[in-house]
């Protein structure tokens, strides 16, 4: 194989390329489109929720269907939208930021994506096969173990497959960042987004196994008759809650830390200033991750763990406000004395600060145990987590998309439409969720299919629903923007934002080998250093030479497909014998693909030096 890839390729060729690619930049595209699709789906489900709750005792959807929609909304948004979108941005930016040609395990990178995609499809197949999971995204036992039909089975298998993909992605980024940094790119010179990716990957590595085991136990109880959560046989349902939240709380930091990284890069770029308190920012990130593992029981204050456990977990939880505060103030200090450009990217970042601060404040409020006896499982909590997740993660993803779109696709997103999206989404967001704090305190529990008339909840819910329509409008404008940009968008130069880090030193979009010569970093914000010291471009750390590249492979797709098929086998073997054919057939596809992978030596190929010399910069 050589790099002389044809320019105008047929659709089939492009498709095949994406199905087999191991290039982190293309995998980034896949993650973005996969995650984007699920975001729309999750958003659609959110709209159904809000329409149902537009007035008291509404009957837009049935009780059972509402529960399915609400479960799928939470599950889809967290596992299939927010995380993949973040992984997409990581794939797009991190290898470039640290000056690497690729990630450490390109094959596994692709495997991670396909596992996620097939896991997500599996989960959503449930809609057409007798009903979606309906036990909430937290799937508390024994509600989930006794839920009739196969809905929860799809939850179990779908998340198991997607979770495996995420775990693989996490390990991949860890090794990439430890081993593949370009010369001079020491840890303390890494851009904050790379840092938060690193820390996030650690969280993934240690948090996901708890989910894996939890799901296995659930699967064994539901499909193979074990008794982990069967109180009659000595089981204990609290075990699930622990396992779920041991995973679940770190998970929320998995969602927010990458966003923090994006904002750090964005604030410093558009203030034309070095990130204030870089070291403090790094250590705050580490501290958040560390504390993040010791607070999970704050989701269980009402369970009855006793005052000692509740107090310990409350205090540990509150402690997280300190490193997070350090971050907020350092961002403000970064802008202080800067020269601030306000474009769409920056608008999302600026919108984040007040929104997330409010979300964090309510976080501390719910951490106050006795107060949480009132907040818990009400719309107050719904408001809290949408403020941090939407105001933090979604705003972060939007900022990241606008920031790196030129790098990923070679075109700049339209500013006018970008601003329209921001303002409608921002206003809609606060309309939707601010009022929910009060709804919660006024006695509206969450996961309520209907609320009753004349309990003072009517107006608040109406306002909330109206806000959701504003958000939907913003999202639709963004979709139009994407299409418009793809057709007519402005071509992006290598460095459209007067950037500071390595990804802006190479063309937009970058060649498939990223860096013709690995760059030498001379400090934090390496490109900025070269700019201010007059040179404006990086010094190569090596002479031009052959570049070693990995081969594409169809096996990741096959491995994931096999598990997808086997998943149906696991689900239906409970009541149909034919399902064993799927189970064993699917596993065979997976195992044979894995066997081929390990038996066939795959050394990749080299791009010869001569060919590179021919390429213009």
């Amino acid at each position: 194989m050589s790099i002389a890839a044809a320019q105008n390729r047929s659709f089939g060729a492009v498709l095949w390329d994406y199905l087999t690619t191991v290039d982190h930049k293309k995998i980034a595209h896949l993650y973005l489109f996969g995650g984007g699709f699920f975001f729309l789906l999750g958003g659609l489900e959110a709209m159904i929720i809000r329409i149902q709750l537009i007035k008291p005792e509404n009957d837009f959807v049935s009780a059972g269907f509402y529960n399915e929609v609400l479960t799928m909304h939470g599950t889809t948004m967290i596992f299939l939208a927010a995380m993949p979108l973040l992984l997409g941005l990581m794939n797009a930016a991190v290898p470039l930021q640290i000056g690497a040609r690729d990630v450490a395990f390109p094959f596994l990178n692709s495997l991670g994506f396909w596992l996620f995609l097939f896991g997500g499809l599996m989960l959503n197949c449930s809609w057409f096969l007798g009903g979606a999971p309906d036990a909430g995204w937290t799937a508390y036992t024994p509600l989930s173990t006794t839920s009739p039909g196969h809905g929860v089975d799809f939850y179990v298998i779908g998340l198991q497959i997607a979770g495996a993909g995420t775990l693989i992605g996490g390990i991949n980024f860890l090794v990439t960042i430890v081993n593949m940094r370009a010369p001079g790119m020491t840890f303390m010179r890494m851009p904050l987004f790379s840092w938060t990716t690193f820390i996030t990957s650690i969280l993934i590595l240690f948090a996901f196994p708890a989910l894996t085991i939890g799901l296995f136990l659930l699967m064994f109880d539901r499909m193979f008759g074990s008794a982990f959560f069967d109180v009659g046989l000595g089981g204990n349902t609290i075990i699930w809650q622990h396992l779920f939240w041991i995973f679940g709380h770190p998970e929320v930091y998995i969602l927010i830390l990458p966003a923090f990284g994006i904002f750090s890069d964005v604030f410093s770029t558009f203030s034309k200033k070095r990130l204030f308190g870089y070291t403090a920012m790094v250590f705050a990130t580490i501290l958040i991750a560390f504390l993040g593992f010791m607070v999970w029981a704050h989701h269980m204050f009402a369970v009855g763990l006793g005052p000692v456990a509740n107090s310990i977990f409350a205090i540990a939880t509150m402690a997280i406000a300190v490193p997070t505060g350090i971050k907020i103030f350092n961002w403000l200090a970064t802008m202080w004395g800067g020269s601030i450009t306000i474009n769409t990217t920056m608008l999302w970042a600026l919108g984040f600060i007040p929104t997330f601060t409010i979300g964090g404040m309510t976080g501390v409020m719910v951490a106050s145990v006795v107060a949480d006896y009132q907040y818990h499982d009400t719309y107050f909590v719904v408001a809290h987590f949408h403020y941090v997740i939407v105001g933090g993660t979604v705003f972060g993803i939007m900022a990241g998309l606008h920031h790196w779109w030129p790098k990923m696709f070679g075109r700049i997103l339209n500013e006018t439409m970008g601003k329209l999206t921001f303002w409608t989404f921002f206003i809609g967001f606060h309309l939707t969720f601010f009022i929910q704090h009060f709804l919660g305190l006024m006695g509206m529990p969450r996961r309520y299919w209907v609320f009753l008339e004349d309990q003072g909840l009517d107006l608040g819910n109406l306002i909330s629903t109206i806000g959701a329509f504003f958000m939907a409008f913003g999202v639709i404008v963004f979709l139009i923007n994407i299409v418009y940009t793809a057709v007519k968008g402005e071509q992006a130069p290598a460095d459209p934002w007067d950037g500071r880090t390595l990804e802006w030193t190479i063309p937009s979009p970058p060649p498939f080998y990223n860096f013709k010569q690995t760059p030498l970093s001379r400090g934090l914000d390496p490109l900025w250093i070269e700019k201010t010291e007059g040179k404006g471009e990086m010094t190569p750390a090596e002479p031009l030479g052959d570049i070693h590249m990995p081969n594409s492979s169809f096996l990741p797709f096959m491995i994931s497909l096999g598990l997808f098929i086997a998943g149906f086998g696991f689900i239906y073997q409970v009541n149909h014998d034919w399902a064993y054919a799927l189970l064993f057939g699917g596993m065979a596809v997976t195992l044979v693909s894995m066997l081929i992978r390990s038996l066939k030596d795959d050394h990749g190929y080299h791009i010869p030096k001569e060919e590179l010399e021919g390429e213009a910069d």
Partner: protein, 107 residues
Amino acid sequence: MAENTNSKETNPFQKQKNRDEMQKQVISFAMMILFTIIAFVIVATDMMQEMFVVPVLLILAIVQVAFQLYYFMHLKDKGHAFAAVMFYGGVWAAALTLAALGVITWW
């Protein structure tokens, strides 16, 4: 050496070093076996008060696992800093999990 092995010998210095290393590993193995036997004997003969047995068993297990990690898995060698940090991260998360499931599931 036989035809399938790679042609050149490892240099004598390295060879000696490897041999010393191997010796240490055999000693660790002996220790591990010893600890295992002690643990089994304690339980089989009921020789110890119940209150002490569990902590003693756990300590024996932890010490012998340390031998595995440091000698058999080379965690003591240089170039293992990251491996060790990550592994102990896992151990930390594991300890919290065990504590929670052991203490606050029944009340």
